[in-house]
Point group: C2
Chain length 347, copies 2
């Protein structure tokens, strides 16, 4: 779906009529224009019903190649924390007036004995992505099911009234496939895209670099086939995020991008349907180097730079109040005329 260029143009003109020096809202003016384009109206309004969808999955590469500082069981434990409302994403979402849904796309553990309701894992595509340094992450059928799940999630969130989507990620080891996808799609060097993830030490980082290198070697002939990359070196969670981002752009649901995992999926979605990124605003720049590479390729400049590396959608949710405040300014500030404030001399 195309964004509304007329609304964008009108919003830029509207911003110049507000009783403030021209351009003095800086980056906020950019997001006001963006919101006008995706909302199709000028001035745009604060979003009424932001919806966070956290997609969880495990990655066997973390366990088998030892690329994470945390054991794999943390993924399921964090799903339980999200259900309980004690995870960071829940606290930020509540402050920002956003609903949170967590979807198990590929967690390896079961939830027996925990409070996680069955529907969270009802659509699980597979229990843990294949270890991408040595085998494919997904089968072709699993890829299809993951993409379809992502699409269905967008349809459901829209049906529930959502007018802004915040996709989030959760999964021990998920920055390894994300870095691999970004390297394959941007031709960045392995060393340049491989970050510290949850805070790994030097030895773990070296194992992670080796895993990314080996995964990239496996897909050396697939760089022009983004879906093959997702199937072979991505994972079920990342495939669900790709499906969500594709569907959101098709159906006209605007998105705040979060960190490296979501943005890697966004890079895939943009490759598949150029222009999808018109529907996205980058919430923040995380500490992961692959995130910057992906944002640069997408041509997106993040609103915030807080060195976050928590995932879950937390970076996007930190940016949400900034976005909403910008939209409140655009909607509610007086114009030079209405306020009786003298504009500068036109010359």
């Amino acid at each position: 779906m195309s964004i509304d260029e007329a609304a964008r143009t009108a919003a830029a003109a509207h911003l110049d009529r507000l009783a403030k020096p021209r351009g003095s809202l800086g980056r906020l003016e950019d997001v006001v224009v963006w919101a006008a384009g995706v909302q199709g109206r000028c001035p745009p309004s604060p979003f009424a019903a932001p919806r966070v969808v956290v997609v969880a999955g495990d990655h066997d590469v973390a366990r088998l190649a030892g690329t994470s500082a945390y054991p794999p069981e943390v993924t399921a434990q964090m799903v339980a924390a999200m259900v309980a409302g004690t995870a960071a994403v829940c606290i930020l979402a509540e402050r920002a007036g956003a609903a949170v849904r967590v979807v198990d796309a590929g967690v390896a553990a079961d939830y027996s004995g925990s409070e996680v309701p069955a529907e969270v894992a009802a659509d699980r595509v597979r229990a843990g992505a294949g270890a991408i340094d040595r085998t494919d992450a997904l089968t072709a059928d699993e890829l299809d099911r993951a993409l379809a799940l992502g699409r269905r999630l967008v349809t459901e969130e829209r049906a529930a009234g959502g007018d802004l989507l915040v996709p989030g990620d959760l999964g021990i080891g998920n920055t390894t496939p994300a870095a691999t996808l970004v390297a394959a799609l941007t031709e960045e060097d392995v060393i340049a895209v491989t970050g510290r993830g949850t805070g790994i030490d030097d030895a773990t980082w070296m194992r992670k670099v080796t895993a990314v290198r080996d995964a990239l070697w496996r897909v050396r002939d697939d760089h022009d086939d983004p879906l093959a990359l997702v199937r072979r070196v991505g994972g079920p969670d990342i495939a669900v995020l790709v499906g969500m981002l594709q569907a959101a752009a098709e159906q006209g649901l605007p998105v705040i991008l979060d960190g490296v995992v979501v943005t890697a999926a966004a890079l895939v979605a943009e490759e598949l349907a150029p222009g999808s990124s018109d529907w996205w605003v980058a919430g923040h720049r995380s500490a992961e180097p692959a995130h910057t590479a992906a944002l640069d390729r997408l041509g997106l400049s993040p609103l915030l730079e807080l060195s976050l590396r928590l995932g879950e959608g937390t970076g996007a949710l930190m940016a949400l109040p900034v976005l909403q405040a910008a939209l409140a300014l655009a909607a509610d500030m007086a114009t030079f005329d209405s306020a009786g404030v003298s504009d500068r001399d036109p010359g």
Copy 2:
């Protein structure tokens, strides 16, 4: 007043017990530690009653030397917009749950025929600062009255329950004295500190550079006397801000710094009482080059960089929800123990 170092240490340890990778909240962890120190408790809580105090003043240098894009009457018009609630600061404050007070410290115009209540201008120190490129901004008596007014405002805001202060500035031409003060206190070059303010053109910028240069020449022997600088090349509004920042640090009221005008006053206050800056967090980095010079000298790294150049406290108010969200995370996130989440291997 000294901040609570024990609470800072406890907060750093508390952050490491939360169910998240260590350090993964990035810059947010810094502000949580800061808030623990100024609140004297761990974990710190979101601030309950932030108070914005916008200090307005005119500067004859703008009119006589032609350093602004806007006519001087805009200052009084914007005071009226703040009273009416349509100014940017009012909209942002309402979203962030902060009260707004506007104080006329040195506006040149009167408010006859407008809705501005008499108390706004009841403590006006003088009608417009002297044109600092050729005469002193204030007399010694005016300086004393302005500093005392700033101190009284802090006492009043604390008495009203305020637990966080957001000083704001308002006044056509006020970046000219701010740049002058920053240049005098940091020894930065005139060209390096003189910015575009409200968005001036090249010819106006050249006049502004000349005015800053001439003002600096007048105070060439006063660089070690910050109050002499405020009196000679500052203004009533800036002097009130200095008094506020001094009193806030003395009385233990934490502050979010806004843009270049507030930060120039902060630089003076820090020179007068080193350590005052322990009570401050920098909300944003504005588009004014003198702002960066002042922040660097203060050793403060801003939370946001949005290229704002509106003043009024707007940059600090954009940062307020980010600060509050960080404090909510620190207060409400589960710990590894409470959430049953496995921490990394200690080795």
